[in-house]
Symmetry: C2
Subunit: 149 residues, 2 copies
């Protein structure tokens, strides 16, 4: 009933565990977002956005895990207090800089998703509703060594 | 294959179209997030987060739409440049203030989801990776009159 459709695919330099930057957002690496032809109409006007929210499907995740031990941390935590990819609904979330739109392909910066990751949604980012300044989650930083959510 | 599971339910004062504030984030209204018993282990440590990202399923959405006319706007736009709930994968996204954790129930502020909305995921919010200051999307404001994404 809550069945997702793949609207595109992420092309990135991150091929396997360990390739990804500690923080996708802080790296300068570009990824390409390829939107499938049948969804191209939905891309109209997207070039007017400077930043986008991307949702994608973490297809290598273990969906049975409810606890995770963040790297470098002494104890396990509930997955909903981490950004581990392993969680019941492994939906990845990233805020990216939109560099260019070339037909059905978006060039973006700041993403840490693996190459081949299925794309689920694209939304315009607005600081007014989406940004909260000054919130730091100490143990979270260690969770982002590999592509996560 | 990309099938979602419902991990909980959102209890809010917004019962129908028109009830919701123009901007969920800017309103002071509290909602309750009820996490189902089988997912409670994942909630451990969540009380240490001041702000959360919630993902939820917009079950009233029209998934066939690729264009939307934002209220007050003269022309239709591609849905991926809007926050309309109508899109191929109607996954709602909201950043909320965590007010209190009471067993399997989270009290939060800043959400504009309808009462009864299925909950998909909870993630800790971190300004370092999730916040981009100063990004305003003019036509987007008009899209948030009713619960959206």
């Amino acid at each position: 009933m809550m069945e997702l459709v793949q609207i595109g695919v992420i092309r990135s330099p991150y091929k396997r565990q360990g390739d990804a930057p500690r923080q996708g957002r802080l790296a300068d690496i570009e990824s390409e977002i390829e939107v499938f032809p049948e969804y191209l109409d939905g891309l109209a006007d997207v070039e007017r956005c400077s930043h986008l929210i991307l949702l994608y499907w973490l297809d290598r995740a273990d969906r049975t895990m409810l606890k995770a031990i963040p790297p470098g941390q002494p104890a396990e935590r509930g997955v909903f207090s981490t950004r581990s990819p392993n969680r019941p609904n492994p939906i990845g979330f990233g805020v990216v800089d939109l560099v260019a739109v070339e037909g059905g392909t978006l060039r973006v910066r700041g993403l840490d998703a693996f190459d081949g990751t299925p794309l689920l949604d694209i939304k315009p980012y607005s600081s007014e509703v989406d940004a909260i300044p000054g919130i730091s989650v100490g143990w979270m930083e260690n969770m982002k060594r590999n592509p996560g959510t």
